[in-house]
Symmetry: C2
Subunit: 115 residues, 2 copies
DNA sequence: TACTTATATAATTAAATCATTATATACTGA
DNA sequence: TCAGTATATAATGATTTAATTATATAAGTA
């Protein structure tokens, strides 16, 4: 049932703690589908920019997301190389996709496309 | 990939928050294999009885465990009827079994058997 | 270079969390 | 009924968490 050799209790509980916040859990669900930059999340969650930055930092510190700069924006992506990536992806499968949030963002013309 | 129709973000994040504590996560892993009573957990985790009771209460309040009295003991069991039971069981599969803890408990003669 | 936009960090505060001690409740058996 | 054991609840305090405001850094552009 698990491809990973068994994971560490300590590590998994820390990750669960991070996913125990609705904002971060939703972020991860969205990042499973595509990358987002900070300012998009600010709009999506209607939350202050530092609050968003701090959530992303926690996710980054524990290795669940990676960041990469593109032009003036910093995009965050799901880190599928993480030890617990499989566990997390399984978990996220149980959650509703957040399409409406993306649709709304696009409707407001706030989607950042960068290529 | 999921049998459950999609779960609620709010509910899942609350559950993840509960599993974000190493003691509770370990409890759930152990309860996946068999039932335990409070005093066994007190020994296993080497923690005060009220601390254990309060962890179990949180798990019970959110519906992850059920309790049943047997003689003077109260046994806790994994509630497989919970909405999120499947998700949780999947998650727990990734964790190492806690056999050593049980072995140690038995070695100390502190396992409560009740039938 | 100076201005604007995007993001990060620091300081602060309110609320939540977790363990402890003290106490109450409930069952068992003499 | 009383004593002992098992468990729950309440009160308290230390620590952590998550948001805010203020400020710093870095890139883009006129």
């Amino acid at each position: 049932m698990s491809i990973d050799t068994k994971l560490d209790m300590q590590e998994v509980s820390q990750i669960m703690k991070l996913l125990g916040d609705k904002t971060r859990l939703t972020m991860m669900k969205m990042l499973q589908a595509q990358d987002f930059c900070v300012c998009e999340f600010v709009e999506i969650f209607n939350m202050s920019q530092p609050a968003i930055s701090q959530h992303l930092r926690k996710l980054k510190d524990i290795g669940l997301v990676k960041e990469s700069r593109k032009k003036q924006w910093i995009f965050y992506s799901f880190n599928r190389d993480h030890d617990c990536a499989l566990l997390i992806e399984e978990l996220l499968q149980h959650l509703p996709d957040q399409k409406e949030r993306l649709v709304e963002l696009e409707a407001q013309g706030l989607r950042i496309s960068c290529e």
